[in-house]
């Protein structure tokens, strides 16, 4: 067991280092601005007094490295400073929105993961049949469509024409869980369509790869019933690629959520990021980017760790 813990710790350490480098990139990119943030916020017509006051308020009179360390320390303790535009605390504005986004992503994942794995395995078993071809074209179309296309099609047919679901996923205080699921169904369905297609294709590829291995051939030749070949011989080795597929697609979900949130006016962190970018509210942009990057890295890390845990061969790197 010791070597597994060591390997996992090593992966975690690597993830932390990458996150640190990304925090440096995110922070110092803003420093690339000519002049500084204060100049960018107030525009060309700002008086020197105003500039000086804002600089003092934002701590811009200190050297960049000191400010970076302060920012990093705040970020670790979930304090990202104050918004330039509204002056409110960034963590407070983003906190609930981040929870909303996580809820939407989890909702979509809860539907998409079982469906796509079952479908992916079925399609892999029936490969090169007409159903496989149809599934191939359908998933390719779904992947190739921009998220807003799928979203608006769903709005048009499920909300405007038939009125089955609300077109705008607005949240209120004190909604019960069923109502919440109902109101956020369309954005979740949009994400499900995209992610299911990705996951199905990857699961299919992984399973086909597996079914081509000699020991499956051997099991078939010795007369094992087909279901037993799948359950006893193929499945134990299929967990590693499937876990990988799921984790990678959850990471994809986290970024795909930005466009979907804008389409459905869902109060999530993606919408906050887009608003902040168009208003050039840098503290919010930095905080959102760091959160997105951290989630992304965490899920990729989960994929690695899951692969290590389920595939003993990875524990002994050559």
């Amino acid at each position: 067991m010791g070597d597994i813990l060591g390997l996992v710790a090593k992966r975690l350490g690597l993830g932390l280092v990458i996150l640190l480098i990304i925090s440096v990139i995110i922070f110092f990119m803003v420093e690339l601005l000519p002049g500084d943030i204060a100049q960018a916020v107030l525009g060309q017509g700002a008086t020197p007094e105003n500039l000086a006051a804002l600089r003092k308020e934002m701590g811009l009179d200190q050297p960049a490295i000191v400010r970076y360390l302060g920012w990093l320390k705040g970020a670790v303790m979930l304090d990202f400073g104050n918004s330039i535009v509204t002056g409110a605390s960034v963590s407070e504005t983003i906190g609930t929105r981040f929870a909303n986004t996580l809820f939407l992503a989890a909702y979509a994942a809860a539907i998409a993961v079982p469906i796509s794995i079952v479908l992916g395995v079925l399609v892999a078993l029936a490969r090169n049949s007409i159903f496989d071809r149809v599934a191939n074209v359908a998933t390719l179309t779904s992947i190739s469509s921009p998220e807003f296309f799928l979203g608006y099609i769903l709005i048009l047919y499920l909300a405007v024409k038939t009125g089955m679901f609300p077109a705008i996923a607005s949240l209120r205080e004190g909604m019960d869980f069923g109502d919440l699921l109902y109101r956020t169904f369309l954005p979740a369905l949009t994400l499900v369509l995209v992610v299911t297609a990705h996951m199905m294709r990857m699961t299919r590829a992984a399973i086909i790869n597996l079914l081509a291995s000699p020991y499956i051939e051997m099991a078939r030749l010795k007369g094992t019933p087909p279901w037993k070949v799948i359950v006893k011989h193929a499945l134990p080795n299929a967990w590693a690629p499937i876990i990988n597929v799921v984790a990678l697609n959850l990471a994809y979900l986290i970024t795909g959520v930005v466009l979907v949130e804008v389409v459905f006016v869902y109060p999530g962190i993606g919408q906050a990021l887009v608003d902040a970018v168009s208003k050039r509210d840098f503290p919010v942009v930095q905080a959102c980017c760091l959160i997105f990057a951290a989630t992304f890295i965490l899920l990729n890390l989960a994929a690695d760790v899951g692969a290590i845990l389920t595939n003993p061969r990875l524990r002994h790197p050559k």
């Binding site: 179309t141 992947i143 048009l156 405007v160 986290i254 990021l273 970018v277 942009v285 980017c289 992304f296």
Partner: protein
């Protein structure tokens, strides 16, 4: 029971019986399962649902016929070797090529095809379609159809420029890393790891928040372009010059000239905010190209014929140009297609968010956003630009699928 329903089921059942009689197993399975599904659909959705199925089947048949004819056309005009390759293309790939061809025509001849100008206001806002305007007017009263045609030019050209830049940087770095090895290789590898661990849309938003606004002017974009070109040029010169001081000096001089000319040329074609967009995309996607090129070239570099060429005394540039590139061309071309899809979707997404291509330039992503209000009135028009994006991406993917299948062991 209307006449339509009777004809519908007669045709389906007749076709499935014929398929079964002539032992066409897959066709029979498809037709008969469609019949079974139609029973359920007909009960749940009524005649309307069946009509929709019939229309979809008709469209599919039309697409199949067009792709078949287009493939035969290509085979007829292509040279003998090309024709042999083209004969192996499945109908989906032929359909992809047809769509790409159509978009190219629409993009190149946009000013002649479009009945009105790109930003020409000709009627009231959201005017419905009439014999003058094929698809009605948009939110400012501009002709929707003309704007879609112009969009084929603006959106695709921008995505193509971004892909080419990303590819030049990524592929050059990958080839150089594969042939040089050592610390240089390690350094580039780690750097691409870091860039790839930030989600692309998020990274693009971060960069656009900084380079958007006042920074999107002629001077800044000129210097950024020159910087990018110098970076690519440095890789080129390193590959060609190889330690010879004289060639370094000549190479650097040529490089600066080319970089400035390139930046000036780009500024003539695109406006500053578009150039920033292209550069952002190039920076984000070049690590992916680098990874693939490095992997493919890495497999070629260890071959015996490379060893032989090295013993012959060939230089690095010769190795890259004459030995490695021809042997890794197929996966690289396929990767170019895939990258184009990613870049295209990213740019469309950014424009949809209002942060990409800026008005009044006609662009599909922003057109969807601007006309989105029409959707709540049950109108299909705002979806047409989005469908145009999806169609092109699907088409490129179909062609790439075929090329991957043909060229390599990637038979997924």
């Amino acid at each position: 029971m209307s006449v339509f329903v009777i004809i519908y089921y007669t045709l389906l059942l007749g076709a499935s019986c014929l398929a079964a009689y002539f032992n066409k197993r897959s066709a029979f399975l498809l037709l008969f399962s469609l019949t079974l599904v139609s029973f359920v659909l007909g009960i749940v959705g009524g005649v309307g649902a069946l009509r929709a199925v019939a229309i979809a089947a008709g469209l599919l048949a039309l697409a199949a016929m067009v792709s078949y004819a287009f493939r035969e056309f290509l085979i007829a005009i292509a040279s003998h070797n090309m024709a042999k390759e083209l004969r192996t293309a499945p109908l989906t790939a032929a359909f992809g090529m047809f769509v790409i061809f159509t978009y190219a025509i629409a993009g190149i001849f946009a000013p002649w095809i479009a009945p009105f100008g790109e930003a020409q206001v000709i009627s009231s806002a959201f005017a419905p379609a009439d014999e003058n305007m094929l698809l009605g007017a948009d939110q400012l009263g501009r002709d929707m159809f003309s704007r879609i045609i112009y969009g084929a030019r603006n959106t695709v050209a921008l995505a193509l420029a971004g892909t080419v830049l990303a590819f030049t940087l990524g592929a050059m770095a990958g080839l150089l890393a594969a042939t040089t090895g050592g610390y240089f290789d390690q350094f580039l590898g780690r750097m691409s790891d870091v860039i790839m661990s930030i989600p692309s849309l998020i990274f693009a938003l971060l960069m656009l928040s900084i380079f958007g606004g006042e920074l999107a002017n002629d001077t800044t974009s000129f210097w950024l372009l020159t910087g990018f070109a110098v970076l690519v040029g440095l890789l080129f010169v390193t590959a060609v010059a190889e330690g010879n001081v004289m060639s370094w000096i000549i190479g650097l001089a040529i490089m600066v000239g080319v970089a400035v000319a390139f930046a000036g040329g780009m500024l003539v074609i695109f406006n500053p905010s578009e150039i920033i967009l292209v550069l952002v995309v190039a920076v984000i996607y070049s690590p992916r190209v680098f990874r693939l090129t490095r992997a493919v070239a890495g497999n070629v570099v260890v071959m015996d014929y490379i060893e032989a060429a090295k013993l012959r005394g060939e230089r690095r540039w010769y190795l890259i140009r004459r030995e490695i590139l021809p042997n890794s061309a197929a996966p690289l071309v396929a990767e170019f297609g895939l990258e184009f899809c990613f870049v295209f979707l990213l740019i469309a997404g950014l424009s949809f968010l209002g942060l990409g291509i800026q008005p009044p330039t006609a662009d599909w992503g922003s057109m969807v956003r601007e006309n989105a209000t029409l959707i709540s009135f049950g109108e299909l028009t705002p979806l047409i630009p989005a469908a145009a994006i999806a169609l092109l991406t699907v088409a490129v993917n179909f062609v790439v699928d075929w090329m991957l299948y043909r060229s390599s062991g990637l038979k997924v």
